[in-house]
Each structure stands twice: as C-alpha cells, then as structure tokens.
C-alpha cells in the first residue's frame, strides 16, 4: 500500500514538472519579435524558379559546382569567394580556396563553418539547400543546360552580387566571340558541314545527344553531331550506330590517361577502322572541362573545335 501511494505522488509530481517545463519553453519562444530589417539587397528568381531573397551585399560566397565556380570567377567575384568544391580546378586561383567537399555530396558542416551569406548551388543539391534555407543562408540554384542559360546564370549571379556590369561585359564578350566564329563559318554551305562523333565514354560507349551542352558546342563550331537526333544528354549507343553514321571527325575528352590516344585506339575495335574519321586520322582530343562544364570556357571549346574542323577558315 505504502509503495502505491508513493508512486502516485511521484507521478503527480512529474506531470506537474512536465507542464511547467512546457510552459517555460513556450514562454521563451514568444520573446519580443526581431526588428524589421531594412529592404533586402536583392530578390531574385533562380534557375529552378525559386524566389531567393538576399538581404545584403554578399561578401562570403560559396560555390557548389565547378561550373558555378568558373562563372563566379569570370564576373570578378574572386575576392568574395570563400569556398569551392574539391573538383573546382579552374581558374588556378580556385585551387587556393577552402574546400567544402565533393560535387554530389558537399559537406554541410564545412559550408556552415565558412559562414557564407550566399551559396551558388546546382540542381542536385536539394538536401543541402533545404538545410541552408532553414539556417537562413541564401542559396541560388544555377543549372544552365545551354549557352543562353549560361549567359542568364552569369547575369543572375551578377545581379545577386552587385556585379551586373561585369557580368554583362563577360556575356557580351562571349557573344562577340561566337559571332566571329559564325561569321567565319558562314562561307561553308550546309552540305559541306562535317559529321562529328564525340565519345564521352568508352566503356560503355557513350556519346553526346541532342540535349547536351557538347552537342551545342559542336553545332556552334559548324559540325553535325551524328547523335543530335537522340534526345538525351549522354546516350549509351552501339558500335553499329557509329559505324553506320560514319563520322568524319572523332573527338574525345582529354583527361588523365587519355593523352596518348590516337587513331589506333579506335581502329582496334571491330569495323571501326573503316570509319572515315579513323581512316583519315581525324581523331582529336579536346579540353574536357571546357566543353562539358556550363561556364565561360564553352566559348574556348567552340573555338577549339571550329579550328580543328575547318582549319582553312581560321588561318
């Protein structure tokens, strides 16, 4: 009997304590409201349609993708960038910045530790972005899939960071260079445009489809991508398809281990030695990052490819 009464008392006491605790917590929550801030620095819509409010001029910017890093550096934000990913290798100054992790999995703690006020993210960073939003850090998502969208993202970043003029200059410069290339290529009629095959990957065989940036670069450089009709970014295609479409030029990305690749790398595959590009030894490596990263170096890629395809036009 004695124990039962004691237990009842204990239960009553704990309930009382619990109620008091809950009340205290609520009271703490309802503190005086924070003062209204002065109007935000910028209210923008990013490339995923999100409304992003930037309260004051960003001074500590973190980029979560190599493409975004190149864009940010190109419009003059070098001094204000405090963090980049492990893969951000261009320009050289980017290598000196603090690293916040990989491309697909940025390290949230590393990001927070750098106290950013603006994060330039990509469209695969949703979990990270959610956390950043919860903590009140402005996150701008850039996901350009074409050259026009790259221009748009540069202008967006410019508007977000007060560098609109610099961004506009860079875009104009890029457009000017493309214009020059187009002018030089204008003399070549449609029938004389060459068929190009870009090998993104060898095993499995992957090429650049109609929805890829690489395709656009090839097009702007005056070439005809043999897989432009495949409406994917990087389709896995069959040997047969390449042999049948008979490209006149073959391009592959220059990376580690691919420096010595020449025609015979392709010629040893069954039947490939009959492909025009292999027979005439028109097999070239191109700067891999420039052609596949959505950033300012796409223009370099266009020029590089155009000169390889139509050397006479660019003497």
């Amino acid at each position: 009997m004695h124990t039962v009464i004691w237990e009842e008392e204990a239960v009553k006491k704990s309930i009382l304590v619990l109620i008091l605790a809950v009340l205290v917590i609520f009271a703490a929550g309802c503190g005086p409201k924070k003062q209204e801030k002065t109007g935000p620095f910028a209210v923008l819509e990013d490339q995923m349609g999100r409304k992003v409010v930037i309260n004051k001029l960003p001074q500590r910017i973190i980029s979560l993708s190599p493409g975004n890093t190149e864009i940010a550096f190109s419009i003059g934000l070098e001094q204000r960038i405090v963090g980049v990913t492990d893969f951000c290798n261009y320009p050289a100054e980017a290598l000196k910045k603090e690293k916040v992790g990989g491309f697909a999995k940025p390290n949230l703690e590393a990001i927070i530790a750098l106290k950013p006020d603006l994060v330039l993210a990509g469209n695969m960073h949703d979990t990270t972005i959610k956390k950043l939003e919860e903590m009140g850090i402005a996150a701008l998502i850039l996901s350009p899939a074409s050259l026009e969208e790259v221009y748009a993202s540069m202008k967006l970043v410019g508007a977000a960071t007060g560098n609109e003029e610099a961004a506009a200059k860079v875009v104009a410069g890029m457009q000017g260079r493309i214009q020059k290339v187009q002018e030089k290529l204008a003399a070549i009629p449609a029938q004389k445009r060459v068929r190009v095959y870009y090998e993104v990957y060898s095993k499995p065989l992957m090429s650049a489809g109609g929805l890829s940036l690489i395709n656009e670069v090839l097009l702007l450089a005056g070439g005809k991508n043999i897989f432009a009709d495949v409406l994917e970014k990087h389709p896995k295609i069959s040997d047969e398809a390449v042999v049948e479409r008979d490209p006149q030029y073959i391009f592959f990305p220059k990376m580690h281990g691919s420096e010595e690749i020449k025609g015979d790398f392709f010629a040893q595959r069954p039947v490939w030695k009959k492909i025009t590009a292999v027979k005439e030894e028109k097999v070239f490596g191109v700067e891999s990052d420039a052609i596949s990263r959505p950033g300012p170096r796409l223009i370099n890629a266009v020029e590089e490819v155009a000169i390889l395809l139509y050397p006479d036009c660019f003497k």
Partner: protein
C-alpha cells in the same frame, strides 16, 4: 523407386518427346539467330544475310549473287553483329546449363549459377582491373575479362576448400560457404564501387551485364573453357539424376558422390566464369530456363542439360536483340531485360506448380 532402370528403356513416348523437344529447340535457336542478325540499330535487309554469310561458299553463293550488299552492312554483320549473337548464344547456354547443374547438386529449385560466389569473385576481379587501369590485351581478351575469370575461379575454389571436410564436401556447408564468401566479396565490390570516381560508369555498366564489344577473337579464346566445362557436366548427367535422390541413396547405388560433385561443380563453374567474365552478371537465365525444360520434359539431366543450353541460348539472343533495338540507337543492359522479364515468369511458374516435385526435400 526404380528410376535408373526405367530410364534405360528403349523408344518409349517419353524419349520420343524429349528428342522432339531437342530438335524443336535447335530450330528455335536457328530462327532466333537469323532474326537477331537481321534486326539491329542498322537494319540489314534479310536477303542480304544469307548472301553475305554464304558468299565464300562455292556453290550456294550463286543463288545470292544478284543481291546487292553494301560494304558497311557486310562489315557490321560479320564483325559486330554475328559475333555478338553467337556470344549471346554461348553465354545463355553456359548460364542455363550451369543453373541446371547447381539445382541438381543442391537439390534446390532456387539455386542459380551464382550461388557459389562465382559472380561476386568475377565482379571483384573486373572492378580491380577497371580501377587499376591495367592495359592488357591478350587475343581478344581484355584485362577486365581475364581478371574477372580469375576472380570467379578463385572464389569458388575458396568456397570449395572452406566447405571441405576430409574428402567429403557436404552440400549444406557448400551452400553456406557460398553465401558467406559471396557476401564478403560483394561488400568489397561495393566498397570499391563507392571509391571508383570517374570509373563509376564503367563499373556499374559491367555489373549490369552487356554483350557489346563482342569479337571473334574473344569467342575463340572462350571456346575451350566452354567445351571443357560442358563436357564435364554432361559426362556425369546420369549421376546427377541419381544425386537427386539424395546423397546417401546415391552412394548406396554406387555413385562416387564426392568425385562426381567435384567435377560437376568444376565444370559448371568454368561455364559460369567464362560467361560472366565476358558479359557481366546476367541474372535469371540460369534460374528459370531449367525449370521451363523440366515442366516440358521432366528432370532427366541427359536431356535437361542440352535442352537448357539451347533454350538459354535462344532466350539470351532474344533479350539482347531487344536490348539493342528497343530504344535504338541507345542500348539497354541485357541483364535488366532478363531480370524484368524473368521475374514475372518465375512467379507464374510458382503459381502453376504448387510443389516443385522433382526436388526431394523433407516435405517431399
């Protein structure tokens, strides 16, 4: 039970039926090969196929002289498509026959060719070759193929010696050892996959199974292993029948179970290793095809083994043709198609057959 004596009777209806089935399967295979060589990213007009194939044959080529065949079609047919179709046939045959053997040895309808860890070992070998970027090229076999083959053989050797007790290799222990080794090697494979960086694509694609890049050189190098493996298992087909009755019964009937099991396993593993090393991990064939044949013609391994091989060959050719034509010019990995198609079929089989009565388990 008088199984052994009965099986030796002369031309009874069962035997007739089985022979007819074999002939039927051969015809199906031939038809599948023909269709597969015609269909593809590049449509080769069907008249061209015999024209190209028979052109070196002195008398028959007169029949096809008038047919125009483009140089490109000829090259694609002879050097890309035909080796691929033949490879599909060989791999399908290997996996199905090996599946039948393992189902017999373990007296378990769920056994498949990968039950003893050959696939995990091969995957580990392949991923090591891919990640270290070793550049071997040995008569049509790349480093990946060689390492995968070695990995497969090594892992089953490990399983065998783990399960061995004196001279005997108890079946239950084998199965458990296979599961353990498989799990461990798979974990290693996962770990390496995680750190594969820019080789990730190649690793994942290899494991999903694919027949692209087939060449005649590769087929010729594979052939001896396939022939040796198949000879081993067919040699003991009768003993495999007796093994189905249980090991003790088989021993009492005069079968040297340890030796028979060892040779059967070695032969089947050779087949599986040869298949997996050239085309990655293609699932469901080894599991389902033998059941199909058993439904049609019973569990006599003297017919089951060649029939499974033939049916497996046809099915894999068909699956591969689908893989390379369904979203042409993009290709799907063939392992995905066999799994997608195989699973519903297996479920249907399960429902149709309340008991898989050819397997002696304690429930009978």
């Amino acid at each position: 039970m008088q199984a052994p004596a009965e099986a030796n009777k002369g031309w009874d209806s069962g035997r007739m039926r089985k022979t007819l089935l074999l002939v039927f399967l051969i015809l199906i295979l031939a038809l599948t090969i023909i269709i597969a060589t015609v269909k593809g990213t590049v449509t080769i007009p069907w008249k061209s196929v015999p024209a190209i194939l028979l052109s070196p044959v002195p008398v028959l080529n007169q029949l096809f002289e008038h047919i125009e065949t483009s140089e490109i079609n000829k090259d694609i047919l002879l050097y890309i498509r035909l080796p691929r179709v033949i490879l599909a046939a060989v791999v399908g045959a290997c996996l199905s026959a090996a599946g039948a053997v393992f189902q017999g040895i373990f007296r378990n309808p769920m056994a498949d060719p990968y039950v003893l860890g050959v696939s995990s070992g091969a995957a580990l070998g392949a991923i090591l070759a891919i990640l270290t970027g070793v550049n071997l090229f040995f008569s049509g076999f790349t480093a990946v193929t060689l390492f995968a083959f070695a990995g497969g053989i090594l892992s089953i050797t490990l399983v065998y010696y783990m399960a061995k007790v004196g001279k005997a290799v108890p079946v239950m222990t084998l199965l458990l050892a296979g599961i353990a080794v498989s799990a461990f090697l798979s974990a290693l494979v996962s770990l390496l996959t995680y750190f594969s960086g820019d080789k990730l694509h190649e690793v994942v694609f290899w494991m999903m199974g694919g027949l692209s890049g087939a060449s005649w050189a590769q087929l010729l190098t594979m052939l001896p292993y396939v022939l040796i493996g198949y000879s081993c298992i067919h040699y003991y087909a009768r003993e495999l029948n007796i093994l189905l009755l249980g090991e003790e019964t088989a021993q009492q009937l005069g079968v040297e179970t340890d030796r028979v099991k060892k040779i059967l396993m070695a032969g089947a593993s050779l087949l599986v290793a040869a298949a997996v090393s050239t085309s990655g991990i293609i699932g469901f064939l080894g599991l389902i095809v033998p059941h199909f044949i058993r439904l049609a013609a019973g569990p006599d391994h003297r017919f089951l083994l060649p029939s499974s091989a033939l049916l497996g060959a046809s099915i894999l050719i068909a699956a591969d043709t689908l893989a390379r034509t369904i979203i042409s010019p993009t290709e799907l990995p063939v392992g995905i198609i066999t799994a997608l198609a195989g699973a519903p079929v297996f479920i249907y089989l399960l429902k149709k057959r309340k008991k898989l009565r050819y397997f002696n388990s304690s429930e009978g």
